[in-house]
Amino acid sequence: MIDWKKRRSKKLIKKRTVVPCLFLLFILTACAAKKEEETQSDTQTVNPADAMITLYHVEGNEIVPDEEIYQLRQPDSISNSLDELVAAQQMPEEMKYNSFSLDEYNNVTVSVNVTSDITQEALLLNKAAIVSTLGQIEEIRSIEIVVCSLTGDVLEDAYYTMDSFFFYDNTSVLKNSGTVCIYLPNDEGTALRQIEEKVVIDPDESVEQCVTERLISYGALPAGTKILNIYVEDHTCYIDLSAEFLNGNGSVKSEVVIYSVVNSLTELPNIENVQLLVEGEKKELYRESVAIDGLLEYKGGLID
C-alpha cells in the first residue's frame, strides 16, 4: 500500500512540475513575442515577416485605409512585396503606377503617370498614399517619386519618407514636439556621435534652447555651464554661455565640445551658422585651441 502511494505521488510530482514548466515557457515566449511587437509599433511599420500592410487610397480631401488589411504573399522579398503592393493599391484615374525600381540601399524609385488636369491636391494626396503604403516595409529607406505626364515628360522628381508628410488634422497643433539630431562626444572624447532625440518643447522655450539644454544634460558641455541668452536672427543662432563654459570638459577635446553645440544647432532647419559668446562677449579662442570669434558652421569631419 505504501509503495503504491509513493508511486502515485511520484506521478503527481511529475505532473505537478511538468505543467507549470510548460506554462512558464508559454508565458516567456508570449512576452518575447510581445516585446518584438512593441518595438514594431513605435516606428509604425510592420515587420515583413508579419506581412500585414494597410493599403491607403484617396477619398475626398484625405487619405484613408482600405477596409481590408493586405497580407503579403512573399514578405521576405522586398521587391516582390513592392510588386504586390503596387498591384493591390487603388489608384485614381488621374494618377497611375508606371514602374518602380529598387536599388541596393533599399531606396525605391516609383514612376507614375498623371493626367494633365490633375489638381495639386490630388497629386499631393496620392503621393502621400503611395508613401504611406509602401513605407510600411521597414527596410525601405526612401521613396523617390517621378511624376510624368501622359506623353512621358517628367514633371517632378523628389524624395520622400514617411516623415515627409504632416497630417495636420490629426495632430494637436500646439504640441511642439519632434525629433532632433544632436551630437554628443564619443566615449574617448575625440569625436562626435550622432543620436536622435525626441523633444517636447515648452511654450516658453525655443527649439534651440531645448537642444542646448539637452546637450548640457548629457554632459557634452563643461559642468555648470548655463545658457545666458539664445536667439536666432537671419539664420544665425546667437548663443551666450556662462563663464563655466571656458573650464573645459574633462578629457573631451575642445573642438569636440564646440562642434557638439554647433553641429546640433545647425541641424535645425532655421539655423545655418552659430555665433558663440561667453558672458556676452566674443572670444577669440576657446581654451587656446579653437577659434570661435566668427560664425561657425556645421563640421562633418568630426563625426565618428
Binding site: 494626396l125 495636420y168 488634422d169 537671419d234 535645425l268
Partner: protein, 483 residues
C-alpha cells in the same frame, strides 16, 4: 401601536413661517444669482473668444498680405523674425504653406520642409472656403489664403494662438464672480432674515395678545394695528370674542329670565295657597275658587316648561327635520279652524286668501307650530271686532304666508326685540292673555330650520304683518347654498 401613532401625532413637525420665508427668500436669491452669474459668464466668455478669433484673423490676413507682397520670399529676414515673434507673443504657432502644400515656414521648426495634408487647408487653398476660423479645445486657429494681385491663391497661412489668456480670463472672471456672489449671498441672507422677522413680528404680537386675553380678561379686545392682514385678523378675532361675550350675556340673561318666569307662577301659587290657608273662615266654595286659580297657574307653568323644551329642541343647529310632502293650504285651514272660537269671542274676523294649491316638503309639526303662534298672536294682540288676514302664495322656489292684523302694532324700538326669548312689549297684557313670551322665538327657530325667513312690518296703533318665506324643497336650497 396606538400609543406610538398618538405620540407621533403630538410630535408632528411644524415649520415656522419665519423659517419658511427666510429659506424661500434665500433659495430664490441663490437661484437668481446663479442664473445671472452663469449668463453673464457665458456672454463674456463668448465675447472674449470672438475677440480673440477676430484679432487672430486680422493678424493672419495682414501676414498673408505681407507674404503675397514678398512673393513668398521668407528669407527676407524681417518677415521671418516677425513670424517667430508673433508666434511667441501669441504662445501659438504659425505655419505657411505654398501652392504645392510645401511647408515653407513653421515657427515650431519641426515640420518645415514637409508637406502638409489637411482637408480644411485644402478647402481654403482651392477657394472652397474664404477662410477658416475655429476654436479648438486648446487653441484658436485661423487659416487665411495668400492671394496674389490677380486673385489667384498661392498659399495658406495657418495661425494658431493658445487659449491660455482666455483660460486666465475665465479663471479671473470665475473668481471675481465667486467673490461677488459670496458678498451678495451674505447680504441677501441678512436681508432675508430681516424681512422674515419683520413680516412675522405682527403675527407674533397678535399671538401674544390673544394668549394674554385667553389667560385673563375675555372682555378685552385685541388692538387693530400693523399689516392689513393682521388688522383683519384682529377685527375678526374681536368679532368672535364679541359674539362669544354676547352669547354669554344672552345666556346669562336667558337663565335669569327663565328663573324669573318659572318663579312667577310658583309665587302666585304660594300666595294663593297661603292666603286660603290663613283664612280660617274659608268655605269649600272659597277653597274651590282658590284651587281653580292655583290650577290655572300650574297650567301656566306647564305651558312655560313645554315651550322651553320646544325652544331648546329647535334651538339646536342640528335639530332634525322630519320633512314630508305637506298640503300647506290644508295645514293653514286646520289652524284657522282651531282658533275660530277664540276669534269669535272678540268678534275678530278671520280672512283666508289662498292663491293656489301649495304642497311643500316641510316638517308639518314645526311649521304648524310656527304658523299657529303667528296667527294666535295676531288674534291676541288685536282690537275687538278687528280682523286677521292670512294669505298664502308661492313662486317656483318658495311659498309665502302673510299674517296681517289690525291690532295694536309694535313700536319701532321693539321691532328687533320681539323675537327674543321672553320678550314682551307690554308685560301686563301678556299675563292676561296667557303668553309666555317664547312664541315668536319658537316660530322663528322653526322657520330658520327650514332655511326660511320671517319678516315683520308694523305701525304702532295700526297693525302688524308677519311675512314668512319657506323653500318648497328642503334639499334644493341647501344644494344651492353649497354651490
Amino acid at each position: 401601536m396606538k400609543q406610538k401613532s398618538e405620540k407621533k401625532k403630538n410630535k408632528q413637525f411644524h415649520i415656522s413661517m419665519k423659517t419658511f420665508i427666510f429659506l424661500s427668500f434665500t433659495l430664490l436669491l441663490v437661484f437668481c444669482m446663479l442664473i445671472f452669474a452663469f449668463c453673464m459668464q457665458d456672454s463674456y466668455k463668448r465675447k472674449y473668444r470672438k475677440d480673440l478669433e477676430d484679432d487672430l484673423n486680422s493678424k493672419a490676413v495682414l501676414l498673408a498680405d505681407q507674404i503675397a507682397l514678398a512673393d513668398f520670399d521668407l528669407s527676407e529676414g524681417a518677415l521671418d523674425t516677425d513670424m517667430d515673434q508673433t508666434a511667441n507673443i501669441l504662445k501659438g504657432r504659425i505655419l505657411v504653406v505654398d501652392r504645392s502644400y510645401h511647408v515653407i515656414k513653421d515657427t515650431y521648426v519641426f515640420q518645415q520642409d514637409s508637406y502638409l495634408i489637411s482637408s480644411t487647408v485644402m478647402d481654403v487653398m482651392t477657394g472652397a472656403k474664404a477662410e477658416n476660423v475655429r476654436t479648438k479645445e486648446d487653441c484658436v486657429e485661423v487659416m487665411v489664403p495668400v492671394t496674389a494681385q490677380d486673385g489667384t491663391i498661392n498659399g495658406v497661412v495657418i495661425m494658431t494662438s493658445s487659449l491660455e489668456s482666455y483660460q486666465e480670463f475665465q479663471n479671473f472672471m470665475f473668481h471675481q464672480i465667486l467673490i461677488l456672489l459670496g458678498i451678495l449671498l451674505v447680504i441677501g441672507i441678512l436681508a432675508a432674515a430681516l424681512i422674515a422677522m419683520l413680516s412675522m413680528r405682527d403675527l407674533a404680537r397678535i399671538n401674544r395678545q390673544i394668549s394674554h386675553i385667553s389667560e385673563g380678561n375675555l372682555e378685552a379686545e385685541v388692538p387693530v394695528q400693523g399689516f392689513r392682514e393682521t388688522c383683519s385678523l384682529a377685527k375678526n378675532y374681536n368679532a368672535v370674542l364679541g359674539k362669544l361675550n354676547s352669547m354669554d350675556s344672552t345666556r346669562q340673561e336667558f337663565v335669569s329670565n327663565v328663573s324669573h318666569e318659572l318663579k312667577t307662577p310658583i309665587t302666585s301659587m304660594k300666595v294663593l295657597a297661603e292666603s286660603v290657608l290663613q283664612n280660617e273662615d274659608a268655605t269649600p266654595e272659597v277653597y274651590k275658587e282658590f284651587m281653580t286659580d292655583i290650577s290655572a297657574e300650574i297650567d301656566r307653568e306647564t305651558k312655560i316648561i313645554n315651550d322651553l323644551l320646544v325652544l331648546v329642541k329647535t334651538d339646536k343647529q342640528s335639530a332634525k327635520l322630519n320633512t314630508a310632502e305637506t298640503d300647506i293650504n290644508e295645514l293653514i285651514s286646520i289652524i284657522l279652524k282651531r282658533v275660530t272660537p277664540i276669534a269669535n269671542q272678540r268678534g275678530i274676523e278671520l280672512i283666508y286668501e289662498s292663491y293656489r294649491e301649495i304642497s311643500a316638503e316641510v316638517d308639518e309639526v314645526k311649521i304648524s307650530l310656527a304658523l299657529s303662534n303667528l296667527i294666535e298672536n295676531a288674534i291676541k294682540y288685536n282690537v275687538d271686532n278687528g280682523w286677521v288676514k292670512v294669505s298664502l302664495n308661492a313662486d317656483h322656489k318658495y311659498f309665502y304666508v302673510k299674517v296681517a292684523d289690525s291690532g295694536v302694532g309694535i313700536p319701532d324700538d321693539c321691532k328687533d326685540l320681539v323675537f327674543d326669548r321672553f320678550y314682551r312689549v307690554d308685560k301686563a297684557r301678556s299675563r292676561d292673555t296667557g303668553g309666555t313670551g317664547l312664541g315668536l322665538s319658537i316660530a322663528r327657530n322653526a322657520i330658520l330650520l327650514h332655511d326660511g325667513t320671517v319678516k315683520l312690518y308694523s305701525e304702532s296703533g295700526k297693525g302688524t304683518t308677519f311675512t314668512v318665506k319657506i323653500p318648497l324643497r328642503h334639499t334644493d336650497i341647501k344644494q344651492e347654498e353649497k354651490s
